[in-house]
Symmetry: C2
Subunit: 522 residues, 2 copies
């Protein structure tokens, strides 16, 4: 098991004091630290200074040191003797819906444990806007902060118990979340985030003492919080860019994080342009109001068996299907469209749907799998309203992609890679997304699903001390464009409200059967 | 009432955010701060960031900001609106025996209140050595730390109550104390201070959050702790040098702090050499084991009335005399010597003393003022043991002065100024000290009593932000010499055990009557 060369943990030896040089332990040690880490200045907590003299003498003047870097200065996060066990770090993806933690051995870089839990702020509001309004009430912010911090502390207890370490063995934490979640985590009022001119309290929180945040870790542990570039482009995205490598490539690529919002970054090593899909009344409801969240029992993919013409599904976990998530709905819509069961406006075609089209509460429903067909005895339907909602969402998504690419003056077809991030994003079948015109008609190899890139970016920074500067560089090089919902945008949005698009030449690979030739088999 | 130009309080205005520039409040504010204070980087606590957005908007984007500087970086200690009352600072002289606090208005530099209290660690040990040993016991350090911190907090309550401010109005604190007291204040183990090679835990504590130390002040208040140059040359002396201006003068001068120890600094703007009188067995008992501490009812000066030949006294306060302090003993010994009542070895001369010399418990005592002579009916005597003790102390003092001046190769007679610091030092009559050969025979105008220079230095740093670099420069330019108790030192010490000295040519101004011509009048 090899040690990380560019990790945050290094062995530091100092000369024992003598009558010729009886410089204080703290300064003697700081000098050695600065040499080893090539740092101009190292900030050392009084709590570390307090344990330094005994630990130095007990360990023959050689210690393992854990540092972290904050903007332009280094901070000591802890010291241990040579045999004092695992030095751990914790990466946290601070999602609006789900919080994911990954425990890492900082010496080797190996993952020790991964754990996720639903954001405990959900009972206050499933969406971030409700929480921001709640934070404006008396003690609202304190309550939201308490919920997320105690949720993380509970998770730390669980993780440490299962990994046979104590929380005091955690020295570094890195946290990536959207700007609002980051504010709630830091107990900073998110009030102005959602009010013109959309000003965060802080852009670059840097490194903060874990104990100051109430996080259960080593008493001198440091928490690095990923910077944001504004209210709508958070540290989760900066972490995602870091992970994707968008900022290191010669070729222009795009990163789309389809989480609670859709955030898009386009660029290469020379420039990065970003926008987010939460802006403007035209995007009311966002781009991802599709089906339920992915989870056990949720159907995540649907296809039509080419032989039998029957719909077949896959679902998450082993429990009976409870519903269908966004990626499943995209698959389903693509299948319905390709087979002529919905038309280019997304409306059910009665002839093609046949007996599978029923009416319930005055709304058309299509039976995807009837109770009789399903081994689980489950009656799976999709309504016209579901399809309409999907079309609004996919149109918004495509319009954002068109807008940002036209802003920088390149065509979507020029993109070398199309990174899809986020839990939802990672489940999307690019072929289906192309079919309904949600994503551009690029060769399928261009699409690269990178999963929870926020967590991955947060993990990366725990393993490589050179990346801290890169994070600052990413943040500083992002040009964030506000999505101006002007006539041009509205025209694009209207054109994108068809399947796959009014301009079919944009989607040459999509070839639905004509509605008239579609036949319901049974 | 004019504002301090180079103070730590400045008014900072920022542009309100706009859609064209919606940089976060914290970064917008930090940028303005950096410009105003000409700082490369300003450290802002999360607690300040938390109140920033509302305060900025409430105060039309103009705040009063209190900064402090730590080595190479600036730290924000607080922000207030324009009408939010007095911004106070507290200078603390952390004495082994007495703790003195001075409350200062940081905007104007005016002193608001001064207060002192006995060091609450005295019951554990009147001297620092006993306390260091106590700190080695289980929870001993915590107890000593608790005592001094709660003593300071009690004093803050008193000071604030009387000054009609709240502790949250205190933003900056500066603390000057000897190295051991500083360690106890910071809860750092003083164990190695007194063990070869006499290594402190820390030389430059810098700025620390008041709340981290448990000090009752503003939640983001910063405490600057004066640096030491070693176990025996503390921040109190560095503060004293700052106040004396020794380090700013072309001419070579000396600063002698006669507190619990005697610490000496010799130098000018180019170099500083220091030593302290606690080193070595030859100085066992130190240089100031003379009489009792100054306080109400204590006799602080003694003279012989040239007309009546009677001894007359002055005492501190209005209560009846309880004893005699060091400065009084020096006066008395000088008077006894000049009048031939003690000889050059300090022994009572029976003929000259006459009936005033009595024997008590087998020891000679000289009645300075008999009960009948004294309006208070108080019988004031001094024993041979008292005189012997004084002579050991004065010999140690003079030897240290000779040693340090010979180390740098100058004669004591070349000194431009002889600064005498410390509560005890400020009471010493230079003429008497010269007479007994405790201090060199310099023109009396050369002597300058500067009082509690530790408190004065601590106060200075609260008023002038340019001095922080000067403090570092002082600390870095001090060459500390260990007093090697070698044969040379012992020879010097022996020669200094006479009144004023075996080498009378060193004290041309001292002319005692010959013992034989001295006559007791009654």
């Amino acid at each position: 098991m090899s040690e990380l060369i560019n990790g945050w943990v290094k062995s530091v030896s100092v000369n024992p004091p003598s009558l010729k040089d009886n410089t204080a332990d703290a300064e003697r040690f700081e000098k050695a630290l600065k040499e080893i880490f090539n740092a101009e200045f190292v900030d050392i907590d009084l709590s570390i200074t307090g344990i330094l003299p005994e630990l130095l003498r007990k360990s023959n003047f050689t210690l393992r040191c854990i540092l972290f870097k904050d903007h332009n200065k280094w901070r000591l996060a802890g010291i241990t003797g040579n045999d004092d066990g695992i030095i751990a770090g914790l990466a946290i993806d601070l999602g609006t819906t789900t919080v994911v933690l990954r425990l890492t051995d900082l010496s080797t870089g190996l993952t020790m444990y991964e754990y996720s839990f639903p954001n405990p702020q959900i009972p206050i509001g499933p969406d971030i806007l409700t929480r921001i309004h709640f934070a404006e009430k008396e003690d609202g912010l304190a309550e939201l902060n308490r919920l997320i911090i105690s949720g993380i502390n509970d998770a730390i207890t669980k993780i440490c118990g299962d990994s046979h370490i104590t929380p005091s063995g955690i020295y570094l934490l890195s946290v990536a979340g959207n700007t609002a979640m980051t504010h709630l985590f830091l107990k900073l009022n998110p009030h102005y985030l959602i009010r013109e001119p959309y000003t965060p309290v802080i852009n670059r929180p840097g490194c903060i003492n874990a104990r100051e945040l109430g996080i259960d870790a080593n008493q001198s542990a440091k928490v690095f919080v990923f910077p944001n570039t504004g209210s709508y482009f958070g540290g989760d995205l900066v972490a995602g860019i870091l992970y994707s490598g968008l900022n290191r490539s010669d070729k222009t690529a795009i990163l789309v994080d389809v989480g609670t919002n859709a955030e898009v970054v386009l660029g290469n090593k020379n420039w990065l342009v970003a926008c987010a899909g939460a802006a403007g009344p035209a995007l009311e409801g966002g781009v991802t109001k599709m089906g339920m969240n992915a989870g056990p029992g949720v159907i995540d993919s649907v296809r039509i068996d080419p032989t039998t013409g029957l719909f077949s599904i896959t679902k998450i976990g082993c429990c009976p299907p409870k519903g269908i998530c966004g990626s499943g709905i995209i698959d389903l819509a693509a299948a319905l469209f390709l087979s002529g069961r919905i038309d280019i406006r997304g409306k059910f075609v009665s002839d093609a749907c046949g007996a599978r089209l029923i009416e319930k509460d005055g709304l058309k429903h299509f039976i995807v799998i009837s109770a009789e067909e399903s081994p689980e005895g489950f009656d799976l339907t999709i309504s016209q309203a579901d399809i309409d909602s999907l079309i609004r969402s996919k149109a918004a998504m495509y319009t954002i992609l068109e807008t940002i690419s036209s802003y920088v003056g390149i065509s979507l077809s020029e993109l070398s890679t199309f990174y899809v991030a986020g839990t939802f994003g990672s489940l999307i079948n690019p072929r289906s997304a192309i079919t309904i015109g949600m994503m551009p008609d690029l060769p399928e190899g261009t699409y690269k699903s990178i999963g929870n890139s926020s967590l991955e970016g947060a993990s990366m920074i725990l393993k490589d001390c050179r990346l801290m500067n890169e994070i600052d560089a990413i943040r500083n090089s992002i040009t964030y464009i506000e999505l101006n919902v002007n006539q041009d945008f509205m025209n694009r949005l209207s054109a994108a409200r068809f399947l796959p698009h009014t301009n079919l030449s944009l989607f040459p690979s999509v070839n639905p059967v004509s509605s008239s030739s579609a036949q319901e088999r049974d």
